[in-house]
């Protein structure tokens, strides 16, 4: 990465830049469709397109490692989990008339606010940074790993502690509901007395 020293002008974009813009448009379109479609499973599938588009954007910016991790975690795990949840509860084919939420304006406000905050932070942090697309990959696994474990170890460790806490929390929650249910069953069973809790 070097300081902004564009060898070509703003109005004569290279092929990569055009591709970046087009993929960005597709990603944006898919993201909008994700939140506007009335068909629940279609929303999840549009999310796949949006997340895949993001991965392609990472690739175009030479951040190969991040791109594959994006596909692995989001498309391979998160979306599969969403689809699993949808199919387990209800996933009607066709439109769901109740797919609209009364909170849509609140949601829009939150979305715009967080987008503004993110754009502001990114622009402020990388204002003068220039990624040399033709040079050695700036986002290869080696480079990413070195910068992650040299400059960003503390946030990384903090995040892993957060994830560990979430993991422990999930286990505690699932165990407590099971214990509570067993408790309810025994309480409902004992006053009658005749049948007992066990068949």
């Amino acid at each position: 990465m070097t300081l902004a020293a564009a060898s070509h002008g703003f109005l004569s974009p290279t092929g990569v830049e055009i591709a970046f813009l087009l993929v960005g448009l597709v990603t944006l379109g898919a993201a909008v469709l994700t939140v506007t479609t009335r068909q629940l499973v279609h929303a999840a599938l549009w999310l796949v397109v949006a997340l895949g588009g993001l991965a392609v954007e990472y690739l175009l910016l030479t951040a190969e490692f991040i791109a594959w991790v994006q596909v692995l975690i989001y498309v391979g795990a998160v979306v599969v989990l969403i689809l699993f949840g949808l199919m387990l509860t209800r996933a009607p084919i066709g439109r769901s008339p109740d797919a609209d939420s009364g909170n849509r304006w609140a949601a829009l406000t939150v979305a715009v606010a967080s987008a503004a905050a993110l754009v502001w932070v990114v622009v402020d942090a990388f204002r003068t940074t220039w990624i040399e697309l033709d040079g050695p990959a700036a986002g290869s696994t080696a480079v990413t790993g070195a910068s992650l474990f040299q400059n960003w170890v503390l946030p990384f460790e903090a995040l892993s502690v957060l994830l560990l806490a979430a993991l422990v929390g999930a286990i505690v929650l699932s165990r407590r509901t099971k214990a509570a249910r067993a408790d309810e069953v025994s309480r409902a069973g004992t006053p009658q007395g005749q049948q007992g809790g066990v068949r």
Binding site: L72, L88, A91, S140, T141
Partner: protein, 322 residues
């Protein structure tokens, strides 16, 4: 010009391999199953060893009417086979068959992540098929597919990470360059876990609960006919090719062999992958299907702890020899 020609040639070779190898595995499966179970059918068509059986199957699939159920979500129903099949083509691009630059479709810097990520995408095809068919059996199949993927993706990733730790790189080409023969006993637990988890991800017997034909009528593929169904079958066999190739590259040393490293490396890769493919077929013929709860239990209580132990072992050995 030369570059473009080179790229075209590589893509062409990978494409031909993608078309041919799954069919070879399919044909082998016919014959191996026929021999092991004394089946007469697959040994009859065309005379010698029933060589024409696969051709007959192909003709049969092409003749069948392409039916889309009335209540199905048409577009997703029709798109699903492609989503199931194409990822394997992409994965084949990244698997190196021999030493050096010339023997891999496209050397990917983060190869391990690439192949595992793209293989995971293939399962979306089964999910889409299961949901869009508007059929309870299909939906059940899709659900089981998703549950299976979530359970078995983790041990697969962890064992692949163990190899990456051993080699100090996540590039498939780099892993093969760093390979030593004593990695085989060192990573053997990881190899078994990876192979078993891969089988489960492909929904091959004994992990074929999501497609269990005798109880949920082929699960997500119940409503498919003709060529689209054939594409799903092809995806399964392409998956076998990819899994065997990956296990070979990650754990069995790929093109490394006792002799003939120069020039004959690709023979070793193919030989090892072929033996693994035979094992896949052998398992199908000999093992009964695991029940759904047994499937989940096997992954979470056995494979995940084993792969974590493998990572610990890899770390310890790595620190000791460093």
């Amino acid at each position: 010009m030369n570059d473009a020609l080179d790229v075209t040639l590589r893509l062409l070779v990978v494409f031909v391999v993608f078309l041919a190898f799954p069919l070879i595995v399919g044909q082998t499966e016919h014959k191996v199953m026929a021999h092991m179970q004394g089946r007469l059918g697959p040994m009859y068509a065309g005379g010698f060893h029933g060589w024409a059986q696969l051709v007959a199957d192909g003709v049969k699939f092409a003749q069948k009417e392409d039916v889309v159920p009335a209540d199905a979500d048409r577009r997703i129903f029709q798109l699903a086979p492609a989503v199931a099949l194409l990822p394997y083509l992409l994965v084949l691009l990244a698997i190196p068959v021999g030493p050096g630059e010339g023997a891999v479709g496209q050397a990917v810097d983060a190869g391990v992540f690439f192949v595992l990520a793209v293989m995971g995408v293939g399962v979306l095809g089964s999910l889409m098929a299961g949901w869009s068919s508007a059929n309870k059996f299909s939906l059940l199949g899709g659900l089981r597919t998703a549950a299976q993927l979530l359970a078995y993706e983790l041990p697969m990733l962890l064992t692949a990470a163990s190899v990456a730790m051993a080699a100090g790189t996540v590039s498939l080409v780099g892993i093969l360059d760093a390979f030593e023969w004593w990695w085989l006993p060192w990573q053997i637990v990881g190899a078994v876990v990876f192979f078993v988890a891969g089988l489960a991800e492909l929904q091959r017997p004994p992990f074929d609960m999501p497609v269990a034909d005798s109880e949920i009528i082929f699960g997500a593929y119940t409503e498919y006919t003709g060529l689209r169904f054939a594409l799903f079958l092809l995806a399964e066999y392409a998956g076998i090719v990819v899994l065997c190739g990956l296990t070979t590259v990650l754990f069995l040393g790929g093109w490394h062999g006792p002799w003939g490293a120069d020039g004959l490396g690709w023979v070793w890769t193919l030989l090892k992958a072929a033996v693994l493919a035979f094992v896949v077929i052998w398992l199908r013929v000999t093992y009964p299907r695991l029940r759904e709860d047994q499937l989940q239990k096997l992954s979470w209580t056995l494979l995940v702890p084993l792969s974590l132990a493998q990572i610990a072992l890899t770390g310890i050995v790595k620190v000791v020899i460093a």
